[in-house]
């Protein structure tokens, strides 16, 4: 008996309050949207195979990259790790039976689905061509595409994200098991706590910005329209006040996954646990004070540029602390190279490059040269795809045995991890070069001398596509044919690994009493000895 077999039938899933079932619902839905967004990315790369705009008309191209951005950001990256792995494991990691607000959790999924359907409807009926940033006054006065419905979709998806974040904060504060102090929490929980703060404080500001865009479009008032006395920069401030912290919403949960994986597969406590925990919170705090670096070329004052440039450099510090601490965790550890660890290595390398190039962009001088070029595109894809997606796949492989009770096939998934890594670099590394050479983003055509690098990039995208399809195939296969996993295949220390796989509906037969630190492998050894002794 476990959470999957307790009840049957579609309704038992659609009306469930069980965080684990909701996590599975989310996993299926975000995977669907990932492949929608991925197909759009494929179309973009195909168009850019040749210098002319030949596969599609330029206005179609605008819609394709806009929808790619909107779907990937709001329907995949923001909910990716939190709504699936976080939803499934945060209650288990803190030693609770469920999230604090199970109905709100289910509501969050329904809002996500409603928003997703609206986004798909928009796409089917012609799409939107403003870019995912809804830049005003373009979005309010100059385009005739479906800004309103897209805006509404993002607005609703935002509430789904707020509810997830709110639920996590309440759960982490109020639902910890006896003995589970703040500094015994796995770093995965700390990372989600920080990301949840960003969701709860940032998302409402995006919501109001979108409401104002919608009102401006329907009523025709110039809040953001300079010809009517409005201020387009105000929209930028409101939008990026959410959307910059949003990149930390996207990356922090991924960092949480990496902490768990790196510790488990090097059999060592994460080096500098407290520093890593606080660096998550520091990223959340600093993350709120860097938004104007998206506006260096938009005519904000020189002093603002100076201050935001400095603050942007500062936010690199806690990220670097994490990278260094993971590296020190590896040092003298007993490292093994299972698939989750391969993805984690991929994350560390690619995220470091993504983060370092972010420093180039935070420096206002180089930013003026590089902004709106492919350098930006390469930078955030290194962080989002190279970072977050790698972390997501790492986490899915890592916790797959716990979620399903079955092992994934090791060899082919190691292959998939390597294919993903190669494909990723082939796709996005050339874009750094294209950017420094001056190829602008968001155009369907480009000068012929850029073709060779674009061909590399498109070829890489096909490899990457294979890398993403493989897990779908073999993970589905493993549901029926995978080896039975057992309770703790990785010999990991988290509370979630000490119970049966798949877990009971209420997670624990009885609420655990925690008497050890996180990542205490000695404690785990002692547990096994006791078990042997009691059996013998």
């Amino acid at each position: 008996m476990n959470y999957l077999t307790k009840e049957n039938g579609l309704l038992s899933w659609l009306l469930t309050g069980d965080h684990k079932r909701i996590a599975i619902l989310y996993l299926i839905s975000i995977s669907f949207f990932f492949f929608v967004g991925g197909s759009l990315a494929g179309l973009i790369r195909l168009e850019l195979l040749t210098p002319q705009s030949d596969l599609m008309a330029t206005d179609t191209y605008n819609k394709v990259f806009s929808m790619h951005g909107i779907i990937m950001v709001f329907f995949f990256l923001v909910p990716s790790v939190p709504a699936t792995i976080g939803n499934f494991f945060i209650p288990m990691m803190v030693g609770a039976k469920d999230l604090a607000l199970p109905k709100i959790n289910l509501l969050s999924w329904y809002l996500y689905i409603a928003a997703g359907i609206l986004a798909l409807y928009t796409m089917a009926s012609g799409g939107v061509d403003t870019g995912w940033t809804f830049t005003t006054p373009l979005s309010t006065h100059y385009v005739n595409t479906h800004v309103l419905t897209t805006g509404m979709a993002v607005f609703i998806a935002g509430f789904s994200s707020i509810f997830t974040g709110l639920n996590f904060i309440v759960t982490i504060h109020k639902m910890r098991a006896p003995g589970m102090t703040w500094f015994r929490l796995p770093l995965f929980v700390w990372a989600h706590y920080a990301a949840s703060i960003l969701m709860v404080l940032g998302t409402p500001v995006l919501a109001i910005a979108i409401v104002l865009v919608a009102l401006e479009r329907t009523v025709g008032i110039g809040v953001f329209d300079p010809t009517k006395g409005g201020d387009p920069l105000l929209f930028q401030h409101l939008f990026w006040f959410y959307s910059h912290p949003a990149v930390y919403i996207m990356i922090l949960p991924g960092m949480g996954v990496i902490s768990e994986v790196v510790s488990t597969f090097s059999r060592k406590r994460v080096f500098g646990y407290t520093a890593v925990a606080f660096s998550s919170v520091a990223i959340a705090v600093f993350g709120f004070f860097v938004w104007a670096h998206h506006m260096f070329i938009m005519g904000i004052s020189n002093y603002a540029v100076l201050i935001f440039s400095l603050l942007t450099m500062l936010v690199a510090v806690p990220s670097a602390i994490k990278i260094f601490n993971w590296a020190f965790t590896l040092y003298k550890g007993s490292i093994t190279f299972e698939t989750p660890m391969l993805y984690a290595f991929g994350f560390m390398g690619l995220f470091t490059i993504g983060g370092m190039t972010g420093v180039f962009l935070g420096a206002s001088g180089t930013d003026i040269h590089l902004t709106e070029t492919y350098f930006i595109v390469a930078h955030f894809h290194f962080v989002m795809v190279g970072g977050m997606l790698m972390a997501f796949l790492s986490g899915i492989h890592f916790w797959w045995p716990k979620m399903t009770g079955r092992m994934y096939p090791e060899k082919i998934s190691q292959l998939a991890a390597v294919v993903t890594f190669i494909g990723f670099n082939l796709t996005f590394f050339p874009q750094f070069i294209l950017g420094t050479l001056g190829m602008p983003r968001r155009y369907a055509s480009y000068p012929p001398e850029f073709q060779i690098l674009n061909v590399f990039s498109t070829a890489g995208a096909s490899v990457l596509g294979v890398g993403y399809l493989l897990p779908v195939l073999y993970l589905t296969w493993s549901l029926k044919y995978g080896e039975i996993a057992g309770n703790n295949p990785w010999q990991a220390t988290g509370l979630e690994w000490q119970v049966q796989s798949p877990p009971l509906t209420e997670n624990f037969p009885e609420i655990p009493i925690v008497d050890h630190e996180a990542y205490d492998y000695e404690w785990l050894e002692n547990q096994k000895e006791k078990e042997v002794a009691s059996v013998g």
């Binding site: 609770a96 607000l101 109020k174 709860v200 105000l234 209420e506 009885e510």
Partner: protein, 250 residues
Amino acid sequence: MSDSTAIAHGTAEAHHEHPPYQRHHFETIAQQNDATNFAMWLFLLTEIMFFGGLFTAYLIYRNWYYPAFVAASHQLDIFWGSLNTLLLITSSFTMAMGVWCAELRKKSGLVLCLVLTFILGLGFLGVKTVEYREKWEKHHIPGLHYSVSSFVDPASDPEVHDKYPKDQPLALDMARHTELYFFLYFAMTGMHAVHMIIGIAILAFMIAKAQAGAYTTGHVTFVENFGLYWHFVDIVWIFLFPLLYLISRH
């Protein structure tokens, strides 16, 4: 299995001491109350950020187009604004009394307080309708045949002109920015009114439930959390009233 994490298979004996309204995933009723209460505070935090965007916009445009904002705010009637403030504060009082009645398990007191809160909330919306109607008649609704005549030529609007005889006519390009003031006025009070309508709908639901005996069994969390929401909506108005009605009155 480990014994220190207490995953030994115990019986669920603790379960039958729980009150019926305790959800299965909470260990104690205190934990449940704490958690839902905390969640409500967090939700109100998101609401603050939501309204914060509008307040920021107001702040910026008031600084940019000060004369337009002063002239436009003179169009608002202090009487209606004060009446509404009075209605809302009173409704917050009746709401707080409602929570108190629920805690003391006084059913009729609770129903009475909720009904009073409901009526006061409706009264607020009624006054708002009167005010909106006035804007409609004077063509002060942004985007719908908006007219700047009251600002370019104050004498054409004797009602307001008598109250503020020192108001100078505005140049046309400044007068046009009054539309921005009214846009923010409608956006802010409208967003506030939406919150009121949601609140009143929940009140109606609560009155029905309270009459059937809910909330006076010791399980007051819902009334308490709704009270927090109602007070929050009240407080938003406490900021809107001076910013929109009072600040330019001298």
